[in-house]
Amino acid sequence: MMAITMAQALNTALRDAMADDESVVVFGEDVGPLGGVFRVTDGIARDLGDDRCFDTPLAESGIVGFALGMAMNGFRPVVEIQFDAFAYPAWEQLVSHVSRMRNRSRGAVGVPLVVRIPYGGGIGGVEHHSDSSEAYYVHTPGLKVVIPATVPDAYSLLREAIADPDPVIVMEPKKLYWSKADVALPVRTAGFGNAEVRRPGDDVTVLAYGAAVPVALEAAEVASDRGRELEVLDVRTLVPFDDQTVAESVGKTGRCVVVHEAAGFAGVGAEMVARVQERCFHSLHAPVLRVTGFDIPYPPPILERFHLPNADRVLAAIDRLQWDDQPDPRWLTEVPA
């Protein structure tokens, strides 16, 4: 068993899916001879043919719209958007058509389409290279949204996305592209709609996804040294969401913190908090807290380390979970004008 990176696992998932099903095609900007700016499609055009993996004009709305047309006519396109924020021109196609075609045709026209989007920061990127845009897709009914945080999940969730009859947005945490694990491929991990307990614990449930998962695990190590056991849940699939595993964990621990990079206001964490307090209110010993990016456009590289959630911030939130049954002082101060 070799150590492979997340990018290599994604590459192998694409190759295996294409070998299994000749209707699977891969396209986007620079995915052909270059192999993608993150090398996720490295060698695929050369090995499987430039009719199976090919470059397109620089036009994201066209890429997704063209892919939708192909998906309507017997193909299973897997398109790559080069960076998170460059998906925005494709926004109309995703929201107006990809998410609705099955619904408006009452099931006559399905859209077996995958859109792969490298997302998130921590790579020193300039503007438009570090956004966490998952909330927009999650809030669009008709799109599935999956976010691998581990190498095996990258392989398995992408394979499942390609096989899914519905459109799936696969958001790949680019900071973790070079993370490594010993994995024998192919591998099948838990399916869509299943969160995974990455580290069991009895004291606090920490919900995280993508690059926030290693952050949560790092905090859990330190917390354990201090006598608190965090149960870290990797949410993995935002849509469909695993209410059951989350509720079971919070039912056990009675305390919950949600961690994500994206801006906190109206972020996906807000939805998770709402669901936890609706379903687990009587199990809770403290309010559910969030550790997120600030409500600002993603900052430049020289400031991003102050914006991104880190283990210290997660631990600070843990400390505010009313262990002494006192109200959280943060919310007692007046908001300044």
Binding site: P57, A59, G62, A71, M72, E92, N103, G107
Partner: protein, 376 residues
């Protein structure tokens, strides 16, 4: 072909431009009174077969009667809204008859006439405008995409679907309708570019009916014509008198055949006019005057074709009468079928969001069921 180290040669670019640009004037066969003009078709396009023209006539009579009925049904509240294509019959029926049944059509919300001319059940075609589900027909069975609301966004779909067909060795062609306003949208640009780069067999039919709701063409573009936009993508183009059915069919059939034979996309700009307002909710007197409408009514596509076919003996007065009777019966049947409101089934809310509902959707369906039973 130049290598990347060489600059494009003048003769190569020049000859490509000549090949791609439209003729200086719109292609025409019939004058306003339905008489064949000298130099009909500019010598570039063949007269369509008589059977095709008589079929076009019958479907145009039907289409016009259907359109009038739909407008009436909207005034009676049986339809929520109806964007009429009265006056655009040559384009609506021309677009349909240039295609085989196995070819695909990509309509906008103003193509109800084309949908019924294609043989789609009118009640299925009108679900969108009736306040019912958006697409009442099966796109795969009818080879007709759902009517597109956000203008121009269906053009990349047409390119992708047609390219998919060509990849599989099929000779399917896609014809996509778009209006003068729609050519300003970004997806017009992206759809034509993709179609050209991937040599997708798509015919883009721009129905230039002079107005995007109230915005006139002169505010929409500074291009010499909408057809001239094609050269920017390497897409050959032509303008046509959009109220001359013979010309519309001649040009569209040639464009479809060209695409079918692997020569890629084609752009047709059909000059026509929207006789009715944008929809029943629009007040067209605010932006155009009655004299302009009257001038275009004198170029009526149905009357022109009828005159021509009667003069050549392809149609008799009996044929004309029969066509009108058939259309009348069609309209009457439609009226009857739309007397009742569509069925309301709340369970449909949660179906077809995904192939299988998520646990969250199943939960919400239960909540709604409880609410309706008075239990919540």
């Amino acid at each position: 072909m130049t290598t990347s180290a060489e600059l494009p040669a003048a003769e190569v670019v020049g000859s490509a431009a000549a090949r791609l640009l439209p003729a200086d004037t719109p292609i025409r066969f019939l004058d306003h009174d339905g008489r064949l003009v000298p130099d009909a078709g500019h010598g570039r396009y063949a007269m369509p077969r008589t059977e095709l023209l008589t079929e076009a006539y019958r479907r145009m009579v039907l289409g016009r009667r259907f359109d009038a009925q739909a407008t009436a049904l909207t005034k009676q509240g049986r339809l929520a809204v109806y964007p009429s294509s009265r006056g655009q019959e040559a384009c609506q029926i021309g677009g349909v008859l240039a295609l085989r049944d196995t070819d695909w059509m990509f309509p906008t919300y103003r193509e109800s006439m084309a949908l019924v001319a294609r043989g789609i059940d009118p009640v299925q075609a009108l679900t969108l405008l009736r306040g019912d589900w958006h697409c009442g027909y099966d796109p795969h069975l009818t080879h007709t995409a759902p009517q597109c609301t956000p203008l121009g966004t269906h053009l990349p779909h047409a390119a992708g679907l047609a390219y998919a067909a060509r990849r599989r060795g099929e000779d399917t062609v896609a014809l996509a309708f778009v209006g003068d306003g729609g050519t300003s949208e970004g997806d017009f640009h992206e759809g034509l570019n993709f179609a050209a780069v991937f040599r997708a067999p798509v015919v883009f039919l721009v129905q230039n009916n002079r107005y995007a709701i109230s915005v006139p063409l002169v505010k929409q573009t500074a291009a010499p014509s909408l057809a001239h936009k094609g050269i920017g993508y390497g897409v050959p183009s032509e303008q046509v008198d959009g109220n001359d059915t013979v010309a519309v069919l001649a040009v569209l059939c040639a464009a479809v055949e060209r695409a079918r034979n692997g020569h890629g996309p084609f752009l047709v700009e059909a000059h026509t006019y929207r006789i009715e307002p944008h929809t029943n909710a629009d007040d067209a007197s605010r932006y155009r005057d009655a004299a302009e409408v009257a001038a275009w009514q004198r170029r009526d596509p149905v009357a022109r074709l009828e005159s021509f076919l009667l003069a050549t003996g392809a149609l008799t007065d009996e044929d004309v009468g029969a066509a009108r009777e058939h259309a009348e019966a069609y309209a009457s049947q439609l009226r009857d079928r739309l007397l009742h409101d569509p069925e309301v089934d709340t369970g449909q809310l949660f179906e077809h969001v995904f192939a299988e509902p998520t646990p969250q959707l199943r939960e919400q369906r239960r909540w709604l069921e409880e609410e309706l039973r008075g239990e919540s």
